[in-house]
């Protein structure tokens, strides 16, 4: 499977970031496994430690399995002054997890991230590819419920 994704790109090192994105997106647990790292290393002809270095440098990649839905709450100043800390606490109680953890049912992973560029609607979070803004504690509850139901 990983080999198939690789072969869509020319075996040049500069395609690494795109390949890693695609591998991560295609995995149901949204992460890049050791096996994937090995495959990409062989395909591109670069050492596995280079790939691991890149992978751990950028915040969008994960080396650990994650939930079906990834919540990324913005913690940058514009969201912070609009109360993102309250939203974070609400999410942690609601999901019963700490930042970086996954719920027991594997449904959600909670992460923090830097500015998403939707500051007009601070505080903001992304769940997978969707942006949710003007968050309040009540709104967060509704959103989580909605996503959980699919």
């Amino acid at each position: 499977m990983y080999r198939e994704i690789c072969s869509k790109y020319a075996p040049d090192k500069d395609n690494l970031i795109c390949i890693l994105h695609e591998i991560q997106n295609s995995h149901p647990q949204h992460y890049i496994s050791e096996e994937a790292v090995q495959t990409v290393a062989e395909y591109l002809g670069v050492p596995a430690n280079h790939i691991y270095g890149v992978l751990t440098f950028y915040t969008m990649y994960s080396t650990k399995p994650r939930g079906q839905n990834i919540i990324r709450l913005c913690e940058s100043p514009p969201c912070y002054i609009k109360g993102s800390e309250n939203i974070l606490h609400k999410l942690m109680t609601l999901l019963d997890i700490e930042v970086g953890e996954t719920t027991k049912d594997g449904c959600f992973t909670l992460e923090l991230c830097a500015c998403l560029g939707v500051c007009g609607n601070a505080p903001v979070m992304m769940i997978n590819n969707d942006v949710y803004g003007d968050l309040t504690e009540e709104k967060v509850e509704e959103i989580i419920e909605k996503v959980r139901r699919g």
Binding site: D12, Y58, P78
Partner: protein, 520 residues
Amino acid sequence: MKFFRSHVLVGINETSIMAGVQDFIKALRLELAKHNLQEEINILETGPLGFFGRGICLSVYPENVNYQDVKLEDVTELVSEHFLKGRPLKRLMLDDGGKFSPKLNYSDRIVLRNSGIIDPENIDEYIGAGGYEAWEKALTQMQPADILAEVKISGLRGRGGAGFPAGVKWGFTAPIDAPQKYVVVNADEGEPGTFKDRLIMEGDPHQLLEGTMICARAVGATKAWIYIRGEYKLCIDRLQKAIDQCREYGILGKNIFGSGFDLDIFIKIGAGAYVCGEETALIESLEGNRGNPRWKPPFPGVEGLWQCPTVVNNVETLANVPFIIQKGAEEFMKHGTPECTGTKVYTILGDVAYPGLCEVDMGTTLRTIINDYAGGMKKGFRFKAALVGGAAGVILPDKLLDVKMDFSSLNQYAAVLGSGAILVMNEHQSIVDILWSILRFFRHESCGKCAPCRNGTQQLYRLISKIKKGKGTMEDVDLMLTIAETMQQTSFCALGQSPIMGVRSAIENFKDEFIAITKK
């Protein structure tokens, strides 16, 4: 061509998508059809309308009525009142029944001149608005040296932060005799509170492409890369569509317009690292490496992407170029001040009445921007401070509200201008708290390559956390200044050199607050 009685422009951006704009458009079409108005009223999906922040926004022409925060349930009333009876629906109008109307200065705009007016996904509309005229002129009527001269005369300075003259930057790369040169567009907008580049790309992606093309021609580059944040999904889609349309029309490709010049543009997606906004870190990332900055010199203009001469410019910088070539440097210089020509795009956030974006001449004061374009403070709030320029920015008190916003007037604070983020804070907000948030951001984003930044960002965060808890002393405050100053002098790249901006401006302008919170 078909003629319509009215055109309804619907702003499609992250904000309105969030508010359900797609369902809204469907409902609006159905309702218009119900009254048999589909041949009279045209619905146009466009980019950000120039005012935003509140849900779904519409502009109706030729009446020139702006609506905001329109909901699905308003569709019936809107159609029957405005489009059937011809009475604009006061309740939803942007100006709150005439109390305030944010300035929509379309005639004075350069970068956002088409944004909110044309359909950004349709190349014909861009061409209809005079698009690609400059590109054709640059290819068929001008020599690369002429383009370079025009941009130099215009005085266009980089809109990414440092304000380096674009023409001079291009001038390093142009004369080099190399088998391959590149143009790289820096669309890795990561400065907190900044999203002007997102709005430029969402509203008018073709203008950015055209600017990139002209730059490529001027320096002799045949390939260009747009390095864009992975989170900017809508921008990525729109730019890719725009590039595909250009290839189809022969605006990109081989032997463009029979000039013998070849050019293609590609998109590269980032993976979330603030430091990649630094041009050499961005180049590293493009090559498939960790985004650690490189030693300068050699500067990218001489040795950049894959060791080839490379011009790296910000989105807003390049989006200015078509205007300069099409209308001439003279026309461009009518905007702004003699030292800082042209306009600047700002995003205004926080406790103002109308958070939004605006494009104003360089040199406009912060007070004018807040009062005339954002409607002043939100009702019931008093101005305390503005964080200008995001995390790498400065915290300005009210006594500095009349400072002119241009690279020379802002002097020591000039680097903050590029990002164009203005975050307004009310009297209840704590400066220590906002500085804590800024320093937490830097601690996370330091790339770890050099010791001053790697250790300095950690220590600054430790100290501000201590102060925030009420456990710090004024010695800790002084120590923060010393650390930040040392970082400014010794860090490898602009990231480590930046925390001093926030630290110094917070401590200098709001010393009382630090005295109040620290132990005696």
